[in-house]
């Protein structure tokens, strides 16, 4: 069971939104993590450099937060093979669909892209059905 903390949800969301806006302003790019991440795999382009830097920052955010005295809770309830299957689906699916939670769910909807609205509705609905199936049985 998790507890609902509205202030941290709103504060964290605002930081994410502001970061996405700044990336748009400074790099003219959408803060879609799947697209940025896939961009550091070969074939490399001139864009691979800043993408690698952005992802390095993303990885370092955890250690930085802990260094500042914070604790990060990560409860994963799933076997290692199940997580591998899930990772494969997330990786392939986000590329095929042209985005993930950040690219479609936040950046796409913020610029009122119909594709992103539809994609977000589809992945939320499917994820909800999967969770229902796993937790409550179909």
């Amino acid at each position: 069971m998790t507890t609902f903390a509205i202030l941290s949800a709103i504060a964290g969301g605002a930081i994410i939104g502001l970061t996405a806006a700044l990336l748009l302003l400074t790099h003219n790019r959408v803060a879609g993590i799947s697209g940025i991440a896939a961009g550091i795999l070969p074939p490399w382009t001139a864009e691979s450099g800043w993408r690698a830097c952005f992802l390095a920052g993303l990885i370092l955010s955890g250690p930085l937060y802990r260094l500042a005295g914070g604790t990060i809770t990560m409860e994963i309830n799933g076997s290692v093979p199940l997580m591998a299957i899930a990772g494969l689906l997330v990786g392939y699916g986000s590329r095929l669909g042209g985005g993930c939670t950040s690219g479609h769910g936040i950046c796409g909807i913020a610029r009122l892209s119909m594709r992103s609205v539809v994609a977000t509705l589809v992945f939320m609905l499917v994820a909800g059905i999967v969770v229902f199936g796993v937790r409550h049985g179909l």
Partner: protein
């Protein structure tokens, strides 16, 4: 690739923005898969956090975008071409991709952003997810190259 001050500056900025994005995810608790699954589990002990995170991020970005669009001195923008958001129309790939992504997301409670933050967790499940996600990206590139 030319390595000049402008590139160095852009890369440094990207690093800081990546840090900020990650801190946002951590503060919002979206790096905890249990929290994400609690949102997706509407029939269980529902936790609406994710909806508030998304709404807050969306609203902040939408407001900020208005200023960016109206800004006459957008000095840092160097290239105009964008590989993002140029596609239009709702096609089979969009629907199939979103459904595939949703299945993996529902099984794990992890999406690409938190997967990167999870690399510092020391949890073997996090690494398993991350490595498979990269394989998924590569599989997509491979399939695309052969079509």
């Amino acid at each position: 690739m030319a390595f000049n001050n402008s590139n160095l500056f852009k890369n440094l900025l990207a690093l800081l923005l990546g840090l900020a994005f990650g801190l946002g995810l951590i503060i919002a608790n979206m790096t905890n898969p249990a929290k994400v699954l609690a949102f997706l589990d509407v029939a269980g002990d529902w936790d609406p956090s994710l909806a508030f995170v998304m709404a807050s991020a969306l609203l902040t970005l939408a407001i900020a975008q208005r200023f960016i669009k109206n800004s006459p001195e957008n000095l840092l923008i160097q290239s105009q071409s964008s590989c993002d958001g140029t596609q239009s129309g709702i096609d089979k790939n969009l629907l199939l991709g979103a459904a595939t992504f949703g299945t993996g997301w529902g099984l794990s409670g992890i999406c690409p952003g938190p997967a990167f933050v999870g690399l510092s967790s020391g949890e073997i499940s996090s690494y398993s997810f991350f490595a498979a996600m990269l394989l998924g990206f590569m599989a997509f590139n491979w399939v695309n190259r052969h079509h």
